[in-house]
Symmetry: C2
Subunit: 203 residues, 2 copies
DNA sequence: GTCGTTTTGTTCTCCCGTTCACAAACTCCT
DNA sequence: AGGAGTTTGTGAACGGGAGAACAAAACGAC
């Protein structure tokens, strides 16, 4: 978040910023921002603030965005399409090296300049391109078996868009994004707002 | 999450489950699950467990998924396409009533059975269909102005996929989903794993 | 009907993230 | 050079979520 806020400030031509400004851009409390940054080291100057470009590089280096991360996407349905074309990945150091799908009918397609390949090619792609990050955009029912294959092939980080809890061995990281749960949370608050004050409970 | 886990159990034909089983399905601790459920009331039976269908309905009612929520999606690029076609929305009580885009070239297209309309139609759609939830899938630069128009039109909950911090008046809820931040988090851990033990800090 | 077993609902404790508040440090002005 | 004014970095206080542990309640066996 801070990295993105800094990039925004840099684009606006700002060269220096205070913790207050940066915190506002990132939508957090300034004390929290300072504490977070302090874990990386002392990159600010008291009485002055932070050098935007310098801090930006330090954060980028720390979180590993300075290097290029090859990524494999499995499941080229609607969501897989969107992810393959998502420019935000490329601009943040992620390179989609392959699109895989179990459905042979999709193997003709070319998406985002890459042709959709068979899921069977997973192992060779992972080893050839030294891929360590996989994205699962398959239906829920296929997600676990895809994850298992990914892990067996040597992938150690998985971003899961399927609405399932994945079980993976120690040492493998999984992050989950569930699009409809976000909407459900909004709907819940919406119901509360317009809602039956009778049912109201101290939240 | 619990709702989804319960739906999964129901599909498997399970009629009753213990907090332990349900917690495992949802990927959380059983004590936490019981505490969470206790906020809704006492829907379990000691010594037996929870009735899957009954609990499912109670949760659905509480979070407002029993009713139908009309939703407007603004920004029909790759992501907007995917969201419009995402079956998970419909199956969880969300109905996409309109797709809007500022680009007139897109107004010819038909996506997911709906034709893409002008952003100018926002106000009339919101009032006609009583829409209270809007989804922003535009580029970052347009997001804030779209949000402002949404709020002015009467929308009170926004799901934001653009990588920007939105500022909205009191009473309006915003949730943000940033796809590439998730990848960055994975990359960070990945760097740590394969990483330079010299730079290692106690995380 | 009573006892043992199972499982929920709830209390207590712990721990971690967030915020407040202030000292240290730097700049600028005189 | 010195003092006033900023702004960082961090120690201390606060709050809340998460897990352990236990009492209350339901069911079944005898």
């Amino acid at each position: 978040m801070y990295l993105r806020a800094l990039t925004g400030l840099a684009d606006d031509g700002t060269t220096t910023c205070s913790s207050e400004e940066l915190a506002a851009s990132a939508g957090v409390n300034s004390a929290k921002l300072r504490k977070d940054l302090s874990y990386l080291g002392s990159y600010g100057t008291r009485g002055v603030g932070y050098d935007v470009e310098y801090l930006r590089y330090q954060i980028a280096r720390e979180i590993g965005v300075t290097q290029d991360w090859p990524v494999v996407i499995v499941g080229i349905g609607n969501l897989g399409h969107a992810l393959a074309n998502y420019s935000g990945f490329r601009s943040r150091g992620f390179r989609v090296v392959a699109l895989l799908d179990a459905d042979p009918d999709r193997h003709d397609e070319v998406v985002a300049g890459l042709d959709v390949r068979s899921f069977e090619d997973l192992e060779s792609i992972v080893s050839e391109d030294a891929v360590s990050i996989g994205v699962i955009a398959t239906p829920a029912v296929a997600a676990q078996s895809v994850a298992d294959r990914m892990v067996a092939a040597g992938i150690t980080s998985i971003l899961n868009f399927a609405p399932t809890v994945l079980t993976v061995p120690e040492g493998v990281d999984v992050r989950k994004v569930d699009l409809s749960i976000e909407l459900q949370i909004l709907a819940y608050h919406e119901q509360r707002k317009s809602g039956l004050p009778a049912t109201e409970v101290t939240a």
